[in-house]
Every structure is written in C-alpha cells, then in structure tokens.
Symmetry: C2
Subunit: 153 residues, 2 copies
C-alpha cells in the first residue's frame, strides 16, 4: 500500500482532533504491521468497500487520551469509558474516514463507508484480516498514545 | 430491522460451526440491543455496504468456546487466543457474512462485504454505531457463549 493511501487518514485524524478538541498529536513513523501491535482501551473501526477494492480502518486510543479529548470537547471529564466516549470515538471514526474518502476521491480512488463499530476493553488488540498489507501509524500526545491502522485488499 | 434480516446470519453461524467444528450451539431469543451487552474475549467484525443501505455485523466468543472450536477444527487446543485463533475468527466472520449475503441476495437485498477485523482482549464490549436498530442474539453451548450483533442503517 502506498503512502498516498495513508496520508489522507493521517492528516484527517490530526485535523479532526485539532478542530474538535484543540488537541495536538504527533505522528510517528508509519510502518507495515509485522511486530508492532496497537494496544488500546477504546477503538473505532469501519469497513470500506469500493468498486475495485475493499478494506478496513481503525483508530485506537489509550484511555487517558480518550478521556482528555472528551474533556476538551465538552468541558467535562468522564471517569471511565462510558457511552458518551464510545459515541465520540464512533463520530471521530466517521469523520476521519469521511475526510480521507474525500481526499482519496480527488485522486480517483473511490470507496463507500460501512457504519462504524466501537470496541471498549482494557488493552485490547486489533487484527485487520486482509490479503493486502496493513499499515500501522502511532501518534504521541502528552495524554497518551493513539494508533491508526489501514488496510486495503 | 425485521427477522428476515437476522435469520440468515443466525442460520449461517449455526451452519458454519456444525460444518467446520462439529459443534452445536443453541440460539436464544434475539432482542433489540438496549440493556443486553455482549461481553467476550475475541470478536470478528465486518462492514457491509449496499446500494440502499450500510451496516455492520459482529460475532463474539468467550475464550473457552473459541479454543474449543480450534480444538475441534485442528485437533489441537491452543492455550490462549493467539494468531491462529484470530485467523479462525476472521475466517468464521467471512463465512457467516458470506452465507447471509447469499441468502439475503435471494430476497433482493444486496450488499458488499468489507474485510473482517478481529478484536481480542478480555471481556471487551462492542457498540455498533448505526441510526438503525441493533439486534443482538446470544447462543449457548457447553463451552461458553457466543453473540452475534447486526445492524443496518
């Protein structure tokens, strides 16, 4: 998978968090998922289906980072990952994928999005089952880590 | 969402486990997801996109049940949820959704499938973020519980 597929998701996540939560995250080096595993406490996942391809996207947050995003969006910090947090993560998943979809459509790469699914559970891991390569990209912030993973068949 | 959308997934899961693992599971009453929450240790998720609708499907297993399915399929029981188990859960997710897709296509309801994603983590929960209703269906077996959840916008 080429960088031109990854960058729209990267810039879209940075964009969404800056706009919605005035929160800066720092992208680290993207890599093929071989040894690196994203562990997190709440994740948003979404399926993508295009005329020539299919794939999946996920964004995973450590709990502290997810709670801080809520705090900055709503001015109130939940004590744990509750229904409001999973709603927010579902919304971020939709917005990031929608943003990337627009950027990729400009390059002639079209897909439709399924509905997002949110997973919560301490230190869960995610495995995209695809025949293509899986790209994982970690992000650092002062409140914890986030990861995005993308694959297309 | 009507029963005619749910039954193809139900019968497809029963079918796949009987055929692949000679394992019987007993469907309990399907219900709208309001209070009931599926907790499990390994889940397969997949997005679905059709010309008129989009949605998502998940199947969640308790660890003991997932390990027993592996045992019956391969004649060897892993000690924990490893890469072989997540591969198997991804495969089951594909097969169940593919089976349901064929049954629903006969009724004129078409969709394409994204690639499956597998989540592992003790007692994680899943929330489908859809504007439509979410149907959850528990299954009992002598080795533990399984759940499927389906939603279409």
């Amino acid at each position: 998978m080429r960088a031109e597929f990854v960058n729209p998701f990267l810039s879209s996540l940075v964009n969404v968090l800056t706009t919605m939560a005035q929160l800066e995250i720092t992208p680290k080096k993207p890599q093929l998922k071989t040894s690196e595993v994203a562990k997190g406490d709440v994740s948003g996942l979404i399926g993508m289906v295009g005329p020539k391809t299919k794939g999946s996207f996920s964004v995973t947050f450590e709990e502290e980072l997810a709670l801080e995003i809520m705090n900055r969006m709503l001015g109130e910090r939940p004590t744990s990952i509750d229904a409001d947090v999973t709603d927010m993560v579902g919304e971020i998943t939709n917005m990031v994928t929608g943003g990337a979809k627009r950027l990729l459509a400009e390059k002639g790469f079209d897909f439709d999005m399924a509905t997002p699914i949110v997973v919560s559970g301490r230190e869960h891991t995610i495995t995209h089952k695809s025949e293509g390569q899986i790209i994982i990209m970690p992000f650092d912030s002062e409140f914890g880590r986030a990861y995005i993973e993308i694959c297309f068949d």
